[in-house]
Symmetry: C2
Subunit: 237 residues, 2 copies
DNA sequence: TCAAAAGTGTTAATGATACACCCATGT
DNA sequence: ACATGGGTGTATCATTAACACTTTTGA
């Protein structure tokens, strides 16, 4: 290959391939009280030390969704999480190292199953969603867009269960909705609505070792839900 | 520059910059009866002759939204159209020339103002949304995603007016909603709802030269709507 | 005078909201 | 026995859905 070819190649790079693609994941969790988001500290100027979402470049032979799953798997050790693409951020100056267009996703994690790995390259921290500090890059915008989307989605799709343990009480479920929507709900109306939809399975088991009347445990099974949805059920909370 | 540098450069290309970004626009229009979508014919194998959305590569110094506006302007001659980003499509094999990740947008055009330019590089055609043939690339998926989004958006945001002439009748507005939602609506209930929201301005003018009782003309002003929204109005149809 | 779309209210059904007390357990 | 959250039903209000006839114009 001689210089002329190089110049052609470099010209092409300049013209078409000077953009890198990344994926950024907003990872939501729920600890039984608060809605949380997982973040790491940025090690790149000018955002050194600022908190940042988990993200990485997408390689040329990698699907976007696969890249998102990879990030979740590499950094948090989870597979097959609920994942939804939200929005693509492409402002010129959004990344200090050059033109990086970022496809954002949010993901839902059962924190009860989450074992914080101490041997990961970068330690991560769960932040209360309402107490997040100033973030690196345009990650505040990304976080806001994902939280907005989650709030809409959770009202019309049964995805909240991805944040709860397999067996949960109705109060836990209500509390989760209150944390996501940032709004109090009426206990009786909430229970009426969700039990009337008929997709919750009564586990015939109860909470143990709680200093009050133990609550009935329920579980959510996608199969059962799908069957009901197919016969006309409309989920709405 | 000698060969070693070349190899480094090429390696970098291979590693990070082998992905091109494009924008594809679903351009919706309304001719008074049907919801339409603007498309062109593909001149690239293996999709030669198939119909395709309007799209182009994003240049490295160009915002995504700006690229979308540019495409609309270059190809259709419009500026400042309503535009919404919908989803990013990034499957490995979606484009025959290599890895191209496409950010999709939909846009709303007043067809009444649209003068089909005959001197454009590629002639475009308005298709009835419900009669679109097999499309090039993954454009069917993109179209479906954009139509879905439009259907949701139009129920909770006053964006339908972007498809109507400045002055329109209530029947035209209803017809537009029926075309978008693909569903008949009750005339009296529709009128009650939309007039009760109070943001339509009566033009005190009427249709002319129609072979039936002429309908009252209304207009939509964003200012008025914003004021009402600020004082608590919730748009919903 | 006919055809075609404009315009207009009421009733019934459904869904949403508001609200207070007794129950079972651990300490 | 007390503190804590679990669990339950009804009445009111607001919203939605269903429905038919008269009016105005051009042909």
């Amino acid at each position: 290959m001689h210089d002329q070819n190089i110049n052609v190649a470099l010209k092409q790079i300049q013209d078409y391939f000077k953009i890198a693609i990344s994926v950024d994941c907003v990872i939501f969790g729920y600890d039984g009280k608060e809605l949380k988001v997982l973040m790491i500290q940025c090690n790149m100027d000018p955002y050194m030390g600022k908190w940042s979402l988990l993200g990485d470049l997408v390689s040329p032979d990698e699907d976007l969704d696969v890249a998102a799953q990879r990030i979740l798997n590499e950094r948090v050790g989870f597979k097959n999480l609920y994942l939804e693409q939200v929005k693509t951020f492409g402002k010129i100056g959004r990344h200090p190292s050059g033109r990086v267009i970022s496809v954002s996703y949010y993901s839902l994690v059962k924190m009860s199953d989450f074992i914080p790995s101490t041997n990961l390259p970068i330690p991560a921290k769960w932040w209360n969603i309402y107490e997040v500090e100033e973030l690196a890059f345009d990650h505040r915008q990304i976080l806001d867009a994902c939280l907005d989307r989650l709030r809409k989605r959770v009202r019309y799709n049964p995805i909240g269960f991805n944040l709860l343990p397999k067996e949960f009480t109705l109060s836990q479920l209500q509390n989760l909705y209150e944390a996501i929507l940032n709004k109090m709900l009426d206990k009786r109306n909430f229970r009426k609505k969700i039990t009337a939809m008929g997709f919750l399975t009564d586990c015939h088991r109860y909470q143990k070792e709680v200093a009050h009347r133990p609550a009935r445990l329920f579980s959510f099974e996608m199969k059962k839900y799908n069957a009901l949805e197919a016969s006309g059920l409309i989920f709405e909370l």
